[in-house]
């Protein structure tokens, strides 16, 4: 085992090697790349929120290419139908029988672009497939490939004509990653890197079998009892946040309890534990630390906490509220 706290040992066929390979194509966005890999290791799905043009599609496509996996992109629109996602049965005139045409969801990495542009019926079809990892078309049930990761994007700027994801469906995403703008230095690097070609292809550095092996390794990472209590305390604090004081942008103190309508569900508890395990595994450890839990907590909690209108009127960002919640619970 490597020295705790030192840089991870990057060997071929390791998660760190995969992230480094992706970083050859995608400038910056380390949090997104780490998030995609964490979701892959946890067998979960990711919600990416950020303005257009921040390499969300490129990141997902590159991940699939790096794993020799199949990539599909679904652009969600108001007129999309469930059959456009999962597939349908069409009549084959030559055979004189119905044949099943599988939809774009049958891929290893699926990008559901602007998921909130489609109505609830379509969202439900996708989210049900995400949960069950199988779809039923007519009389037949089809298993989705393994690994199967959905990366759904939402654009926070353009909310006209969108359908907000219901709370129960949002909860099914393992994590939500906020995609931010690159720094000026990174933007200069983007200019240089993409001056020659639009995209630089990612070579395959691992296989789908490697992913399954990593997943088993991440699942076996030890979580100490003290850490389990810490995770439970963190999630419980989101349900009773009264007494946590934070400062609004206007400079006055606000009680976090006044900003939250409902806290995170037990799925958040499971997500925190799984993500902490996966982070430890990516770091080359076979045991998780409080630092792992603290690092993944915002990703696991931000889409599971119901903030009310006061978060806007009090000029507090959800990120700051979550930061205060996490800081309030003492690490073991």
């Amino acid at each position: 085992m490597r020295q705790l706290g030192s840089d991870p040992i990057v060997t071929e066929k390791s998660p760190a090697y995969l992230v480094n390979a992706l970083a050859q194509t995608i400038v910056g966005q380390r949090e997104v790349l780490d998030g995609l890999l964490l979701a892959l290791l946890c067998n979960g799905h990711v919600l990416l929120e950020g303005p257009p043009g921040l390499a969300k599609t490129l990141a997902c496509r590159s991940l699939a290419a790096a794993l020799e996996g199949e990539f599909k992109r679904i652009q969600f629109t108001p007129d999309l139908l469930p059959s456009d996602i999962v597939g349908t049965r069409v009549f084959d005139q030559r055979e004189g029988a119905f044949a099943t045409v599988l939809g774009p969801i049958f891929a290893n990495v699926v990008l559901a672009d602007e998921i909130n542009r489609a109505p609830a019926k379509v969202q439900s079809a996708l989210l049900e497939a995400m949960q069950e990892r199988q779809v039923t078309i007519g009389p037949q049930t089809h298993s989705l490939p393994d690994p199967f990761v959905v990366m759904a994007t939402m654009n926070p700027l353009d909310s006209e004509g969108t359908y907000a994801l219901p709370v129960a469906q949002m909860d099914r995403f393992l994590m939500k990653v906020n995609v931010g703008y690159p720094s000026p230095a990174e933007e200069l690097q983007i200019l240089d890197r993409f001056a020659v070609a639009d995209t630089q292809p990612v070579r395959a550095v691992a296989s789908l079998d490697d992913v399954k092996r990593w997943r088993a390794g991440a699942h076996a990472v030890h979580i100490d009892e003290k850490l389990k209590h810490y995770i439970v305390d963190l999630v419980a604090r989101t349900r009773g946040a009264r007494g946590i004081s934070l400062r609004s942008d206007r400079g006055h103190a606000v009680d976090a309890g006044d900003l939250i309508d409902y806290g995170a569900s037990p799925r958040a508890t499971l997500a925190l534990a799984n993500l902490a395990r996966a982070r430890a595994f990516m770091d080359g450890r076979d045991f998780a630390l409080p630092d792992d839990v603290r690092a993944v907590a915002p990703h696991a909690l931000r889409h599971r906490i119901g903030f009310n209108y006061r978060i806007t009127t009090e000029a507090v960002t959800p990120e700051r509220a979550i930061e205060a919640l996490v800081a309030d619970v003492a690490a073991p």
């Binding site: 020295q3 305390d233 076979d286 045991f287």
Partner: protein, 298 residues
């Protein structure tokens, strides 16, 4: 020799704690409603080399057979002489009293850290660590005091006579020297302005232990009791030593100026591993922590 005694006392205290608590490594926290948790002594002024008692009292509302995960402070400056535990249940709950017999080998102030108790609070179902009050005791001269004993009065008279004679002689000599100096004093020239004297550094209290002493104690404890509970306690003690507060994570602690020394950061990392790794890796993790401590102490 005295340091050896302290080390043995620390080790014995740890063994006692393990016996009482059943080891935090078991990690099974009881659901308790803790009403009071007090650390006290049976005497306000303990005497050198005369045994006295430290008493830990816990009252919980539940009726239980034992209080687990109770961690006593490391008594590095006191010699442990014995330990008695009494647990009584009544309709109002359970009273747990632990009486520890100790002896001080030096005079002055001795700080005793709070005892801690880990349990799930039955009121809200959350795991908590309760802390008792801490203590600072002042050890005075006891049986080894040259003025104590049967012939105390006679010796006291003799002592005062000698003291007065020494002081009287001293005063006469000082006055004679002063008269001599003033009588032959040369003409004074104005001295150049001098910067004010730096304030005198406060003297270190007798009981204040150096960082090296604390790390040495930690090594003794880890060698004597190679389990999760001692690893967690030593980790907490080292964190306190470098000024880290409860609730920080390793990443926070490694940012502290005191943790920038590679040997100290290696120690912090090895203790983190020992506190959180799986059971099969615990022994190598403790070996690693001991090696890190030895590297700092060498």
């Amino acid at each position: 020799m005295i340091r050896g005694w302290f080390a043995i006392a620390a080790a014995l205290a740890m063994v006692s704690v393990a016996f009482v608590s059943g080891g935090i490594g078991a990690q099974t926290l009881a659901r308790l409603t803790v009403d009071s948790f007090i650390l006290s002594t049976d005497t306000a002024t303990p005497k050198l080399e005369i045994p006295f008692h430290l008493i830990v009292r816990v009252h919980v509302r539940e009726r239980v057979d034992s209080i687990d995960n109770l961690v006593l402070p490391i008594l590095a400056e006191l010699e442990l002489r014995g330990d008695q535990r009494v647990i009584r249940s009544s309709p109002s709950g359970t009273d747990y009293t632990e009486t520890i017999t100790v002896v001080a080998h030096h005079t002055g102030n001795i700080a005793i850290a709070p005892a801690t108790l880990q349990a799930i609070d039955a009121r809200d179902g959350r795991a908590k660590q309760y802390s008792s009050n801490g203590l600072t005791i002042t050890v005075a001269g006891g049986a080894l005091d040259p003025l104590a004993g049967a012939e105390g009065v006679a010796r006291r008279v003799w002592h005062w006579a000698v003291t007065i004679a020494i002081w009287g002689g001293g005063i006469i000599v000082v006055v004679a020297l002063a008269a001599l100096i003033f009588h032959h004093r040369p003409v004074r020239v104005p001295a150049p302005a001098q910067s004010p004297e730096p304030p005198a550094q406060p003297a270190l209290p007798v009981s204040q232990r150096t960082r090296r002493d604390q790390l040495s104690d930690a090594l003794t404890v880890l060698r004597a009791e190679r389990n999760r509970g001692s690893a967690v306690r030593v980790r907490a003690a080292v964190w306190r030593m470098i000024g880290a507060s409860e609730g920080e994570t390793l990443a926070d602690v490694l940012q502290r100026p005191d943790a920038t020394d590679p040997r100290m950061s290696a120690l912090l990392r090895s203790l983190e591993r020992a506190a959180f790794t799986y059971d099969d890796d615990l022994a190598p993790a403790i070996d690693d922590a001991c090696a890190s401590l030895e590297a700092i102490l060498s």
